[in-house]
């Protein structure tokens, strides 16, 4: 089994707290012997690193040089992410799982799941409803719609506490058993997540 993480931030690209969360979670899962690929964004061109055995980082950049909004930028990045994940899928014999953070890589993950039957776990740390000063603006409405589809199309949605669970249910009108509360601060967090992966691979 190989898990491909997709996150729009990872050190040194630090936008908020997510960069540290993703780094810490990947490290904990890697220590458990999981094979990991991370696809993340680079502002300094495309490059690949292998910082540790069974851990490869592919930093991608938009193939389009200018953008009108974050939407056009993110969709072009998603196309690149789909290319990288498809390359991993077609060249590795391992069973692959996708693990995304927030909305940024939802379009690529949804397509990869449909096309190649790759299971998809989505972690949700914040919602556009919380981040935006004007959640009803056309831009925020677009992002909220991406979130709306994401929580329905992923196989499991991970949230870190009961408050976030309520927020997801209230804002995205979802009442799925597939929403799992899994606090990364818990000592056995990695075991819970590994169990989830195993369940997806065996199903």
């Amino acid at each position: 089994m190989r898990v491909v993480f997709l996150s729009w931030e990872y050190p040194p690209r630090i936008v908020g707290e997510l960069a540290w969360q993703v780094q810490s979670q990947i490290e904990r899962l890697r220590r458990k012997g999981l094979k990991i690929d991370l696809v993340t964004i680079s502002d300094a061109g495309y490059y690949v690193e292998e910082p540790a055995p069974s851990f490869r980082i592919t930093r991608i950049t938009s193939p389009v040089s200018h953008h009108s909004t974050i939407i056009t930028w993110m969709v072009s990045i998603n196309t690149e992410a789909a290319r990288i994940v498809a390359d991993i899928y077609h060249s590795e014999s391992d069973r692959i799982i996708l693990h995304t953070y927030d909305w940024h890589f939802a379009p690529a993950s949804s397509a990869l799941k449909k096309a190649l039957n790759i299971p998809w776990v989505a972690s949700l740390y914040s919602l556009e409803q919380h981040r935006s000063l004007n959640p009803n603006s056309p831009l925020s409405s677009c992002i909220r719609t991406i979130e709306w589809h994401m929580v329905r199309e992923c196989d499991f949605l991970l949230v870190r506490d009961e408050w976030m669970l309520r927020e997801v249910r209230n804002n995205l009108s979802i009442d799925r058993e597939a929403v799992v509360v899994s606090n990364p601060s818990a000592a056995d967090w990695e075991d819970q997540v590994l169990q989830l992966y195993e369940k997806l691979v065996s199903s």
Partner: protein
């Protein structure tokens, strides 16, 4: 195994924005007649079925407003997300894996490129026009984004198809695509659709008096099509010939055309029809006396083919691809892009029946021999086979078994 193609186009009849819809429709139908399994993935249109079979072609229409978007480019991006998702489901359930993905223009670049990599299917792209050409240069970041997307699509495509040598050179110069990666395949026309019909006199009487010549313009009413030059030429033409000017099309210059005709004192001689249905337009070609194409930028010039198929004499600036279809005093009167020259050309054709007969017959024969859809589909099939042979011969970049 038969050859199958997944066409991606943001327009397909009845959704018609420009010439792309007719191009993708006619090419798809002709390829299907030649035994290719053709699937067209396009956008929805009120009243059109989500899935249907059109003249042997499987058409799938995707909800284009699933996501709200802050601007046109973001809408295009999210529309591509819908196309991609729909195609992924389609390819797994109905279609299996097509032999070729064929994307038309930057508007479907994101979906075409993602599908290529996800399924490892070779991508062919037709670049019908460039942002650089449409805007007369790249002037702001919005245009830069579109041009950059066009360049990305061209890089990702195995082969790039352009409709004229002019466009091939533009794509080479502007997008950096090597010339040896580009195949020039012209647009086509079904000649049988442009033959004279009944009631021509009745139709003509709706547009012109019996003694008036009928001058036709067909195209978007935008700067690059040069309609403003024709309007300025009208008083100079009327100085020599009594004529009515029928201007067909929509665009941001529509109100300007009407206002300027008034300022020039020729309103009673100018009829701006707006958008016309295909059938009426085809009949108009057969009753007019001359077609004027005063374009400043023209990647191909499909209107010239339609006029030639209708045996309608053409006066044109012969820019871009038009100059590859017709030649001066043989199959067209070529003029300079200014009102004096355009007026001179129109008067030449309207006052010299021998010249009009000569150029229209030659243009008709030229279209009949080189621009039929059967021939164009054969050339397109040649590109597909070349791509597939190269794809089969390379090591690697094959789908996981």
């Amino acid at each position: 195994m038969s050859l199958s193609v997944l066409m991606l186009s943001w327009e397909f009849p009845p959704r018609i924005v420009g010439g792309l819809a007719a191009h993708v429709h006619d090419l798809s139908v002709e390829l299907s007649r030649k035994g290719v399994e053709v699937h067209v993935l396009t956008l929805d249109f009120p009243g059109a079925a989500e899935r249907e079979r059109v003249n042997g072609v499987n058409v799938y229409r995707v909800d284009s407003y699933k996501y709200p978007a802050p601007d046109f480019a973001s809408w295009i991006a999210m529309m591509n997300v819908n196309l991609l998702n729909y195609a992924c489901g389609l390819l797994r359930s109905v279609l299996q894996r097509p032999s070729i993905i064929h994307a038309h223009d930057w508007l479907v670049a994101y979906a075409g490129i993602a599908l290529k990599h996800i399924f490892r299917v070779p991508l062919v792209a037709t670049i019908h026009s460039t942002e650089y050409g449409r805007r007369g240069g790249i002037h702001d970041d919005y245009q830069r984004m579109i041009a950059s997307t066009e360049a990305w699509l061209s890089r990702e495509a195995w082969r790039v198809i352009c409709c004229s040598r002019y466009m091939a050179e533009e794509v080479n110069r502007v997008l950096g695509t090597p010339l040896d990666k580009i195949d020039v395949i012209p647009n086509g026309v079904y000649i049988e659709n442009f033959q004279p019909r009944d009631n021509r006199a009745e139709l003509r009487s709706r547009y012109a008096l019996p003694h008036e010549k009928l001058v036709l313009y067909v195209g978007r009413l935008v700067h690059e099509k040069g309609v403003h030059l024709l309007v300025e030429a009208i008083p100079r033409i009327l100085h020599s010939v009594d004529a009515k000017f029928v201007i067909v099309g929509e665009g941001y210059l529509k109100e300007w055309v009407k206002r300027r005709a008034g300022e020039l004192g020729v309103s009673q001689k100018v009829y701006v029809t707006g958008f016309l249905d295909v059938e009426t337009l085809r009949r108009l070609y057969t009753i007019a006396d001359v077609l004027v194409m005063p374009s400043l930028y023209e990647p191909f010039g499909i209107v010239a083919l339609e006029a030639a198929a209708s045996r309608l004499p053409i006066v044109s600036t012969c820019v871009g691809g038009i100059g590859e279809i017709v030649s001066h005093m043989e199959s067209c009167v070529c003029v300079y892009p200014n009102p004096d020259s355009i007026a001179w050309g129109v008067v030449q054709v309207l006052t010299n029946p021998g010249l009009a007969e000569h150029i229209r017959n030659n243009a008709y024969e030229r279209v009949k021999s080189a621009y039929t859809w059967g021939r164009i589909a054969d050339q397109t099939l040649g590109v597909y086979h070349r791509v597939l042979n190269e794809y089969k011969s390379i090591e690697g970049w094959k789908p996981r078994l």
